[in-house]
């Protein structure tokens, strides 16, 4: 035991942070599962488990762009909606082909991630060559465009194959046909196939992808490009390429999170994934700390639960929510609290120093 503690103490900072994040996620999963099997969590929390997993994944994905690669994306909900709509359409369309739901959900997530990643790539080609806040502007527009396009898309499947029409529903379906995307009425799932376990697995996969990317040669190149573009270029790093890697990875993860979210709902519409949702995810990232993955996990989970936990305040709920947000921001930036932690650390260092003597 003491050896483990020693190794933890001697680890470098990044490894310690990764281990802590994995431990946090796995620990939370185990505790929640135990509670679910014994006393139960209560309907409200139970119903929120899958959305929390989706939002945690979204926050981690956005943190890769905002925190690690230093670009700002204001349209991540757009990637989420691509994953949600197309992933769920795939899941519903494949219902007969793949009856085993976890596999079907997995396939749907891969499709959702691939398509979202593809759109991320398309956006990245022109924008990531530029130096400045252009990504924020373009992703903002992208989010709005995707919302409009999906609101006017009609997709259906029957024995003859896929039917697609735009603006008005012109799909003539045979008997037994299934509407996958119904324009302004969004998607209606015949069954909700997402489970908490799948959500947990997605979060862990996201963490593995992000930590391995960040702590690799590629990750260091991404951060070098973030910290000083000119210096990075001068040592031969292709800034566009590395920013692209971070952005496409992030878009793909957001797509997978979207599929997870979509398949957990009976119905959802494109207007759900609007600018406000993008900003909400950005709030998770900022509150958790830029580049700080465990911070994103905690912030996403806490801020998803908080509005529901405040239900007893009735009409004042969102007001209290805002005040709590401000308090957290003040508290985390408070020199007195930082000083307290710094003193703790100092004391520990002293102890360690004393033991070594």
């Amino acid at each position: 035991m003491s050896r483990v503690v020693n190794r933890l103490a001697n680890m470098n900072k990044t490894t310690r942070s990764s281990v802590f994040t994995y431990a946090l996620v796995v620990g939370a999963f185990v505790i929640l599962q135990l509670l679910r099997m014994t006393t139960g969590l209560g309907s409200v929390l139970e119903g929120q488990l899958i959305p929390i997993c989706a939002y945690v994944t979204m926050a981690l994905a956005l943190n890769l762009v905002v925190g690690v690669s230093g670009e700002l994306s204001l349209g991540h909900a757009g990637f989420m909606s691509i994953g949600a709509f197309l992933g769920c359409a795939a899941a519903n369309g494949l219902a007969e082909l793949i009856p085993f739901t976890p596999v079907r959900l997995g396939v749907a997530m891969v499709i959702g991630a691939a398509l979202a990643g593809f759109f991320g790539f398309l956006i990245g080609i022109p924008v990531l060559r530029l130096n400045g806040d252009y990504l924020a502007i373009v992703t903002l527009a992208f989010g709005e465009i995707i919302k409009s396009v999906l609101t006017n898309t009609y997709l259906a499947v029957d024995k003859k194959g896929l039917h697609f029409s735009f603006l008005t529903d012109k799909n003539a379906l045979e008997e037994g046909g299934l509407q996958l995307i119904r324009g302004p009425m969004g998607v209606m799932n015949t069954q909700r196939i997402s489970t908490f376990t799948v959500g947990f697995v997605l979060v862990v996969i996201t963490l593995v992808v992000i930590f391995n990317l960040v702590n690799s040669r590629t990750g260091r190149a991404i951060m070098a490009a973030r910290d000083n573009r000119i210096a990075a270029e001068s040592v031969g790093i292709s800034v566009t390429k590395y920013k692209m890697i971070a952005f496409v990875t992030s878009a793909a993860l957001a797509g997978a999170a979207g599929t997870l979210y979509g398949c957990s709902q009976t119905t959802f519409v494109a207007t759900k994934f609007d600018f406000n949702t993008s900003i909400l995810i950005l709030v998770f990232v900022v509150l958790g700390g830029l580049g700080n993955m465990w911070g994103s996990v905690i912030a996403a989970a806490a801020l998803t639960i908080l509005p529901e936990a405040l239900r007893q305040f009735a009409d004042y709920r969102m007001l209290v929510y805002a005040i709590v947000l401000i308090l957290v921001m003040l508290a985390t930036n408070n020199p007195a609290i930082w000083g307290f932690f710094a003193r703790l650390r100092e004391r520990r260092e002293e102890k360690k120093g004393g033991a070594a003597q």
């Binding site: 209560g42 309907s43 409200v44 139970e46 119903g47 929120q48 959305p51 709005e144 409009s148 609101t151 006017n152 603006l167 529903d169 324009g183 302004p184 009425m185 969004g186 209606m188 709902q265 009976t266 119905t267 959802f268 519409v269 494109a270 207007t271 759900k272 529901e308 239900r311 007893q312 305040f313 009735a314 009409d315 004042y316 709920r317 969102m318 007001l319 209290v320 005040i323 709590v324 401000i326 308090l327 003040l330 408070n334 020199p335 007195a336």
Partner: protein, 394 residues
């Protein structure tokens, strides 16, 4: 910590505390005034948008239901209700949370959701959990499709389109019809699709249609110019009353004066703040409820609503009011008691609702009935606005 920051901190803390205090009393008011012990009153729950852009509908339904519950509890009969509304912000995801919160509270029978999209989410859960739901105003057919314990008090969207087309054809209201509809709205799309299909059958001449979305509902000059160029003499507006009010004033500004025909979402236009009722002169609409109706029940409801909330009730309030009384009738008919479980009540209500005939504020005098799918059968009232008030149209 410098003094300024400390002050900010203290102020924020003080605000949170005071909000907590206010919130406490606020939530007390939101649920029923009579705090009855478990087993003496039926726990009736519903979700609706009590905050955000769609909150007028949620608040209207909550208030309408509250008035009915207060009346019933004041009479002190065997059937007593404990009403609780939770906010769903017109979002299916939040509606699931709101529904789950009600379930934790111990909801026995449900008023479903006020709006359609959240209604689809919560009705699926109602079906899974076996909690009976009667929704006042979630009008999409998807709300009741495939569920045997979810009932509607309002017309379904396609029925409104159907009734409107038939009404226009029967009364020969227009030669050339133009439709302005909201393309990102379930309600508007549902009505418009059915209207177009039925208009085709009846040989109505629909000369065109134009769309708008939530983001573009601040200007209708383009759509109105299109209608004018198509020489339409009847504008069909299957939309809610706020965009409709803007259409009316912009049409007047450009000197275009066709006839206007609306559906039940148009109800409420006369009570809208800063709206000149003269603009709505001659507007026709189909609605199940008319706040100016002469009959005693309507007048008493409107009076109570005005006294309590300072505004004239819209049809959402009347639908919710009717829902509570329909529950009362059904519970009495089935002989249910408040100590029964949600599952027992679910079974009883499923048996009872298709058999009862209910007379309420909405629908005409013939009474309201339901079939086993949960769809309601009642006739809409054709209204025309004359001198700033509704008048029956026949």
């Amino acid at each position: 910590m410098n003094s300024k920051k400390f002050l900010a901190f203290a102020m924020a803390a003080a605000m949170t505390l005071s909000m907590t205090a206010c919130g406490g009393s606020g939530s007390g008011a939101a649920s029923s005034g009579t705090d009855s012990a478990a087993g003496t009153a039926f726990k009736l729950g519903g979700t609706g948008p009590l905050t955000g852009g769609a909150s007028i509908y949620g608040l209207a339904a909550q208030r309408g239901a509250q008035i009915a519950v207060d009346e019933i509890n004041a009479q002190g009969g065997a059937i007593q209700f404990d009403l609780k509304y939770e906010d769903d912000q017109h979002d299916p995801e939040k509606a699931v949370n709101a529904y789950n919160a009600l379930k934790e509270w111990g909801m026995q029978i449900s008023l479903g959701s006020v709006t359609s999209q959240p209604g689809i989410s919560t009705s699926a859960l109602s079906q899974e959990d076996g909690i009976f739901a009667l929704t006042p105003s979630a009008s999409s057919p998807d709300v009741i499709a495939g569920k045997d314990n979810v009932y509607q008090m309002c017309f379904s969207d396609p029925n409104q389109g159907l009734a409107s087309a038939q009404y226009i054809a029967e009364q020969q209201l227009g030669e050339k019809i133009f439709i302005i509809w909201k393309s990102d709205d379930n309600y508007s799309t549902g009505i418009k699709d059915k209207f177009m299909a039925e208009a085709d059958k009846l040989g109505l001449n629909v000369v065109g249609n134009a769309t708008f979305t939530t983001d573009s509902q601040n200007d209708f000059n383009v759509q109105l110019t299109q209608a004018k160029q198509a020489e339409a003499d009847l504008l069909f507006l299957p939309i809610y009353y706020e965009p409709a009010s803007l259409i009316l004033s912009q049409a007047k500004a450009m000197g275009y004066a066709p006839k206007f025909f609306g559906v039940d979402g148009m109800d409420g236009i006369l009570t809208m703040k800063n709206f000149d009722p003269a603009l709505a002169e001659g507007v026709m609409l189909l609605t199940p409820f008319n706040a100016d109706d002469e009959d005693e029940a309507t007048q008493s409801f409107v009076k109570k609503y005005q006294e309590k909330y300072g505004e004239t009730p819209i049809q959402f309030a009347a639908d919710a009011y009717d829902c509570v009384y329909a529950y009362k009738l059904a519970l009495e008919t089935a002989g249910c008691t408040p100590d029964m479980s949600a599952a027992d009540l679910n079974a009883k209500m499923k048996e009872t609702f298709p058999t009862i005939t209910f007379t309420g504020l909405t629908g005409d005098g013939a009474g309201i009935t339901w079939d086993a799918t949960g769809a309601v059968s009642k006739s809409p009232k054709g209204m025309v606005i004359q001198n700033g008030a509704y008048a029956g149209m026949d």
